[in-house]
Subunit: 214 residues, 2 copies
Amino acid sequence: MGYVLHSAWRAGAPYRTRIGLALKGVDYATVPVDLIKGEQREPAYRALNPQGLTPALEIGGGEILTQSLAILEWLEETIPGPALLPTSPLDRARVRAMALIIACDIHPLNNTRIGRKLSRMGIDQAGILKWTQGWIADGFDALEPMVARHGRGFAFGETPTIADCCLIPQVYSANRYEVDLTPWPAIRAVNARALAHPAFQAAHPNQQPDAVAT
Amino acid sequence: MGYVLHSAWRAGAPYRTRIGLALKGVDYATVPVDLIKGEQREPAYRALNPQGLTPALEIGGGEILTQSLAILEWLEETIPGPALLPTSPLDRARVRAMALIIACDIHPLNNTRIGRKLSRMGIDQAGILKWTQGWIADGFDALEPMVARHGRGFAFGETPTIADCCLIPQVYSANRYEVDLTPWPAIRAVNARALAHPAFQAAHPNQQPDAVAT
């Protein structure tokens, strides 16, 4: 049977997952979750993912996977190629560290629920934007030398890895939040390369059924 | 040669790493990083981990690993036993999802640098405490049914996995921030079981060279 991805066009974690699915050549159906309406917090969605966050991937037999990095690792373990991780444990640790800088130390600080919470705490929109931009800059400062050292077209080596699955959506988010990418040439080069790759193109927010013209 | 862990006694990510090292029976030297003094932001530490976060693990040959989950996966790939992940890809995805709920959706929102930032944004100590407690409660609400379903003593099954490496430090943090654990009996049971396990005992903050009596 086919997979079903519960996705939101502009959100980072479903975007990562879509890139992984596209790189592995997996066919799947998309069910959009409207984050603005708050569908992710409604009982119908919480039945799929009690955490109320996107994505959720139905893989058949009633099984549902959550957490984008766990899904990417699962794709890597169940679908032989192309590889999303290098072969040596040391290199795999480097790729995972890059992915985790984004998945732990940038993105969770900036997603929709955090903006809502900060707003309820009395932080104005300018303050929230500055918060968002600051964590992206911090994380990109850490990533830039790693990409410069290990990248050969993509973030690590010559082919896409889970680091790119995380990096490209984070660059998309950085553009959305008007972060000036000048300080990070290695990241910009990888982003340009990835945006020309068919899998990254298929996974792009603008190609999703729930995309809204901006 | 031996490994060197740059660690901070009470911080969550080094604590996770220490549990993994202890479970795998790895000998290592500890170099404390004083987070209160801000040593993690000084050039000497940034030379090891440009991100300025703990832990950093020196593994010889000038190689340094960062990001606790990348280190745990690396330990799993380089040291045969005991296994920190189950064997089937589906079960591995479940364990990783549990670990990532903590590593992405709880802990990064509550660490030292976030408290400092919120304070600079004018949030008072009571507001920061409420923020911290809220994200822990959200994450534990998501974890509790997963642990209740899959746990058999530990978070997934009968032996410790990377989910427990993340969960036990997060429970420690919850206690530190005065979160009432009553709503999460499955998590409490795993925590009690883990605290009686020699590897978790060796990794405990109070057993570290830089521990301060509290």
